[in-house]
Symmetry: C2
Subunit: 200 residues, 2 copies
Amino acid sequence: MAPGTRDALIEAAADLLDRGGVEAVTLRAVGHQVGVSHNAPYKHFANKEALLAAIAAREATRLVTAPHGEDTPEAALRRTMHDYVTWALEHPARFRLVFGPWTTESPELAAAAHAAHTRLIGTVAAAQRSGVLPTGDPERAASLVRALAHGAADLALAGHLAADGKGHADPHQLIDDLLDHLRTATAATRPAHGGGQEGR
Amino acid sequence: MAPGTRDALIEAAADLLDRGGVEAVTLRAVGHQVGVSHNAPYKHFANKEALLAAIAAREATRLVTAPHGEDTPEAALRRTMHDYVTWALEHPARFRLVFGPWTTESPELAAAAHAAHTRLIGTVAAAQRSGVLPTGDPERAASLVRALAHGAADLALAGHLAADGKGHADPHQLIDDLLDHLRTATAATRPAHGGGQEGR
DNA sequence: ACCTGAACACCGTTCAAGT
DNA sequence: ACCTGAACACCGTTCAAGT
């Protein structure tokens, strides 16, 4: 498998990223941690941004590859969104790297993001069919749910959510609030035929 | 009024920020644009972050100070959220500065943010009373609406919303979608008594 | 009270060499 | 094919002076 200094560079950079944020990942520190000179990375990546993009691609691929237990459509959607903010809160720097603006075009990163997007649309479409999400373009509904989770996570990370420290607006609560309201709205516009799924 | 090089520094920094993002605002460039040495800013700000915080505070104050026309509660809420994303899309760097993580404590910035938060809660509470938003803690409902607008703006700025270029998920559309759904959900849980407000 | 010039430590990036 | 050392341009920040 060869020594694989390229993987070692990514690993070291990800470690520095988790430990001190994106400002802590410097080519000199990365090289030092791997035991290599500070410009050795240029033999494996075009520049620093390409290295960061490689971290983002690795992380995004892992997220998409992670197994999803089989649940009812609504539970699957809820868990997907909760997992999203849980991951964001645990790994702020990775979150910003993957879902922030991309300065470098990375085919793997784009592919992973597209796969995640496609899977979410499928989950949303299933939830729509089971009557817990309003009908309409599944992509549009997916964007709605995704935008809320993203905004809740981003505001929480920035410290702009719980204004009075009373825990008034936990990101997880906001996700449940949204899905509850959407289910209520869906039930209202549907011709009442029993009350939807009560499958446990 | 004195020459006011402090204000000139803020103005120049904001100009550089709009033009080339936060990475373009360098103390040397700021000083040069004002016609002063590159360490003159240290006579007015503790460091670079304090200068950026001053920009954020000025911007946040302007946002809160901006006049709000008098509308029906629902229209006021809708306009507030649309204005939020319009501003974010027009001034991405300012948006990230004001609503991103604060690295420096700025009393003015905190005060402006608190004022904006308080006003939004008032708008939300009025919308709740008029029956277009679900009842419950106004702060919680405000956070829901705010998180969606923030997430939609942030994803759009990062280029992660319109996946297929078909304009499937415009941030403004998502805001209207959310408020439409919330109104529907509210009408459903309310004892029907005519259909809510049709006040013009 | 405000500003300057030189200096320091730290970056990303390039390049001529080395194996 | 991969790596090194020196060098360059650019940062934020500090400090001894100047007025």
